[in-house]
């Protein structure tokens, strides 16, 4: 699975995800990626793209959960990401990238690793795989 989230100068906030699914997949099994609100979601406050164990990500309605947590708690993107990855999902199940409407970026995982990268207009730039 691959994904990207971005916010631009006009304030447009977008999430996208694409995947080949799960090895040895049968019976037309569908994972979280194409399920809006689970593996891919964007609201007027945050854009989220997930990767990992699709069934778990779907059951937690992950992308929407992050947005709702930020809006109604209210909470920061950092707090919402931790809530999803540490309270709702279990170790080894998922990685998450997100960006909020103010350009705060988030890359979190409860797996061993996640291929990831982030950059912004203030010159911050990072590429990583493990912690």
């Amino acid at each position: 699975t691959v994904g990207a989230v971005a916010v631009d100068k006009e304030g447009q906030i977008v999430a996208g995800t694409s995947t080949g699914g799960m090895t040895n997949k049968k019976f037309g099994r569908v994972g979280d990626v194409p399920i809006i609100g689970s593996g891919t979601y964007a609201s007027d406050v945050v854009a989220v793209s997930m990767t990992g164990w699709g069934e778990k990500i779907m059951r937690a309605v992950s992308g929407h959960t992050v947005s709702a947590y930020m809006k109604h708690k209210p909470a920061s993107l950092e707090e919402a990401g931790s809530y999803l990855l540490e309270d709702l999902l279990n170790k080894g199940e998922a990685g998450m990238i997100a960006v909020d409407k103010d350009g705060n970026t988030y890359m979190g995982m409860n797996t061993l690793g996640m291929f990831r990268g982030a950059a912004d207009s203030e010159g911050n730039r990072e590429v990583a795989i493990w912690e």
């Binding site: 699975t1 080949g20 090895t23 997949k25 964007a42 990238i97 061993l112 690793g113 291929f115």
Partner: protein, 180 residues
Amino acid sequence: KDWALVIHGGAGTISKDKPDSVVKAYKNDLSEALAIGEDILKSGGSALDAVENVINYLENNPKFNAGKGAVFTHDGGHELDAAIMLGNTREAGTITGVKTVKNPISLARLVMENSKHVMFAGDGAEKYADKFELERVNQEYFYTEHRHKAWKRALKREKQKDAQSGLMELTPKELKEKYG
């Protein structure tokens, strides 16, 4: 901030004993993907274009499980999914189970921008793709050696598991016979 961008190429038990050259190659490709999005956003381009173009790059890169480099289904084929969503208006386009679309994220965007629907599946999604100038490929295009090997290992594990669970269901008498 004027703009911000985050990307991923998948999460999981990425083993740490990969050779440095492999780690370097992955980081190099992630940096290239990032640069594609940065260039678009820096020059005032849209988040939609940045997300689609970054994901096109990753779909075309055989290292990642999307587009070329997709994993194998049980039947030895490839079924691809993709989704895109614009938060400001909550418009979204998603497709699942396509087999001949080279860049599924681009079809998802076409669904979002041209259809009153949000999600298309399987043959329907393929037929919807026929309405547009979208690059189409055959299933061989998605083949990579490392995913093929992973598929073979998964089939073997499944057989062993089935055999094992099959044995569990046998009575002691049948079990004896089973071992005839």
